[in-house]
């Protein structure tokens, strides 16, 4: 946390007020939960809060700084009350989008950023304007996935070709993110809105303790953006839009990690690859349907852990005047098939999240959310817990945006 602060301050001070836009958002929540410890407290729960009370749900600042024609810098810094790190960057990128009269145009970006594979979180700082608790898919992407690298893209806006169809094609290469898959394999899918900071460490339960000394030597935490093997990961994505009514995005991601690579912290490389297909459909002025499906696998060690995972959700959002109602159904699953039979990686679950948001004025928004999930994780047996778990969480939120 400390090394990033002078840099962040330097960036802030160097910003020309004319060319920079600073925006921010803060959410305070009152949570009522069923008091089951979550992964951050090294429990096996999959929700963010284990105790009733007031929480700082979100606090972020976003800086957009125009540098020169076509050049833009974006920084997003977040403050969390929970987790191992409290202050840091969730995004820091330099974007290049030159003016072009061509029908097919070029753009690029470099830094620390999300690939644009999701359609659930278009709000400031990669937040969802629909539900507060993000889908299982985007909860996971927000905590384990970030691109520290370069993305090149070609795109063709339909309106400039007098066509209803627009397309974008992206390819990216990156370092880091070699531990991606650790959380999915051991903790499984979770549902929350805590995005990992650039220097973050994520805890999870000490699964497997009674059974194996080798497992006990592995840390019960991960640092999701570590580089372990010196190899590049890559991804490719295709966006297709029909007017602004329907958007479809397909991505293939492969961190290309060496599953035998291990560092002095005993963090292993997890060779993780997956497909993501997301769609958003503006049904009419008031209703929007969003869906995403992810399927992939991850391998650690000499087939010590091999897990196949998949998840999907469907979200329907209805806006009327200052109200927005959003309902989402999630289903998620992991399957282990490896040489450690005692390390069970099977998880199944589904969840319903219902959210009401009221936009009081330009700055203030208030909301309520009810979330329930039912999930089964076989490795809870290693903690002496029953594998099946039903959970619910009620949130009342106040949000201030500037």
């Amino acid at each position: 946390m400390r090394p990033c602060l002078p840099w962040l301050l330097g960036c802030l001070l160097s910003i020309n007020s004319l060319a920079a836009e600073v925006s921010g958002l803060m959410q305070a929540s009152l949570a009522v939960t069923d008091n089951q410890p979550g992964w951050q407290e090294q429990g096996s729960g999959i929700l963010r809060y284990e105790e009733d009370g007031l929480h700082l749900q979100q606090a972020l600042v976003k800086i957009d700084h125009h540098l020169a024609s076509g050049w833009q810098m974006e920084l997003v810094a977040n403050l969390h009350e929970d987790g191992e790190q409290q202050l840091g960057l969730t995004q820091a990128q330099l974007l290049y989008k030159p003016l072009s009269a061509d029908k097919v145009k070029f753009r690029a970006r470099a830094g620390f950023f999300y690939p644009q594979m999701s359609l659930e979180n278009p709000d400031t700082g990669w937040l969802s304007p629909y539900n507060y608790t993000q889908s299982a898919i985007n909860s996971w992407i927000g905590e384990e996935l970030r691109i520290a690298g370069l993305e090149l893209g070609l795109y063709s806006p339909g309106r400039q070709r007098r066509s209803p169809w627009s397309w974008e094609l992206y390819g990216g290469v990156f370092r880091g993110n070699d531990t991606l898959g650790t959380l999915l394999s051991w903790r499984g899918w979770a549902m929350h809105d805590r995005q990992s900071l650039h220097n973050d460490r994520i805890n999870f339960a000490h699964y497997g303790q009674p059974f194996d000394t080798y497992r006990n030597a592995l840390p019960a935490w991960t640092e999701p953006f570590k580089e372990l093997d010196g190899r590049n990961g890559y991804y490719a994505g295709l966006h297709l839009d029909y007017y602004q009514t329907v958007s479809v995005r397909y991505y293939f991601y492969d961190n290309n990690a060496d599953p035998l690579a291990v560092n002095e912290q005993r963090l292993y490389g997890w060779d993780t690859r997956f497909h993501s297909l997301a769609a958003s459909w503006q049904l009419n002025e008031r209703n929007r349907l969003i869906s995403q499906w992810v399927t992939g696998d991850t391998l650690m060690g000499d087939n010590k852990v091999y897990v196949e995972f998949d998840a999907w959700f469907v979200l329907l959002s209805h806006a009327v005047e200052k109200h927005r109602f959003s309902a989402r159904f999630d289903r998620f699953r992991t399957r282990g098939d490896d040489v450690w039979p005692w390390d069970q990686n099977h998880q199944d679950g589904d969840a319903i999240t219902l959210t009401w948001r009221y936009q009081w004025d330009e700055s203030w928004q208030f909301g309520l959310e009810q979330h329930i999930n039912s999930n089964r994780a076989l490795n809870r047996a290693t903690l002496g817990e029953a594998p099946d778990r039903d959970r619910q969480q009620t949130l009342a939120l106040a949000q201030y945006r500037w």
């Binding site: 003016l99 339909g158 007098r162 209803p164 602004q244 503006q282 008031r286």
Partner: protein, 214 residues
């Protein structure tokens, strides 16, 4: 006596007799009205120049240009007020006015002078679906067709050339320039021969605030 009455009547109606009315109708190859079509009159005689300091607005509202087509007389300054609370990066590659303009929230740049006639196509480098036009004409006599495809002028009588322009029209521009002698009340209908380019009005449709995000 009769002579005096005639003189009095002539004097009374003199202002009217100095204005000629022109009604223009614009229909496409299917006979449907072409809303927003730009019609204007030029003359070999000098026409009144634009008043110094004349301003027009090309706004940005809900990530669209408003109006879609703005017609101004050569020498007009155009403001880009940005009614959105987000950044825009407006640009043009058109020979009549190549430019780029960063529009930030709560910051209004100086207006731009449009001093060459022609069609200026506008885009936004942040929101790629935004499309707008500024039509710069060298005459004070211009109008845009309404929803019925009709445009009306009141101009001094004389010899003019009537022009029709619109970004979607594919007809040969020469067939859209028509010499006219205007003295009283004249009507003309442009019937286009070629089909219009696609309008793609759905890009302008109001959806929700999360439409078209990146």
């Amino acid at each position: 006596m009769t002579y005096r009455i005639c003189l009095t009547l002539l004097a009374l109606f003199c202002p009217l007799s100095n204005a000629a009315q022109l009604d223009v109708s614009v229909v496409d190859d299917q006979g449907s009205p072409v809303k927003g079509a730009v019609v204007y009159l030029t003359s070999s005689s000098p026409l009144p120049a634009v008043k110094p300091g004349t301003m027009a607005d090309m706004d940005q509202v809900k990530k669209q240009f408003k109006p879609h087509i703005l017609v101004v007389q050569k020498g007009t300054q155009v403001r880009f007020p940005n009614s959105d609370s987000i950044q825009h990066h407006v640009y043009s590659f058109s020979p009549a006015k190549p430019f780029e303009l960063q529009l930030y929230k709560d910051h209004h740049p100086d207006p731009l002078m449009f001093d060459q006639q022609g069609q200026v196509e506008l885009g936004c480098n942040v929101h790629d679906w935004m499309l707008g036009y500024i039509m710069v004409v060298d005459t004070p006599y211009f109008a845009q067709a309404n929803a019925q495809g009709l445009a009306t002028f009141d101009v001094p009588p004389g010899r003019y050339t009537l022009h029709l322009r619109h970004p979607r029209i594919q007809d040969d521009p020469k067939s859209l320039d028509l010499p006219l002698l205007l003295d009283d009340h004249t009507a003309h209908t442009f019937s286009l021969q070629e089909p219009l380019l696609p309008g793609l009005d759905e890009f302008e449709e109001q959806t929700d605030e999360f439409s078209g995000y990146e």
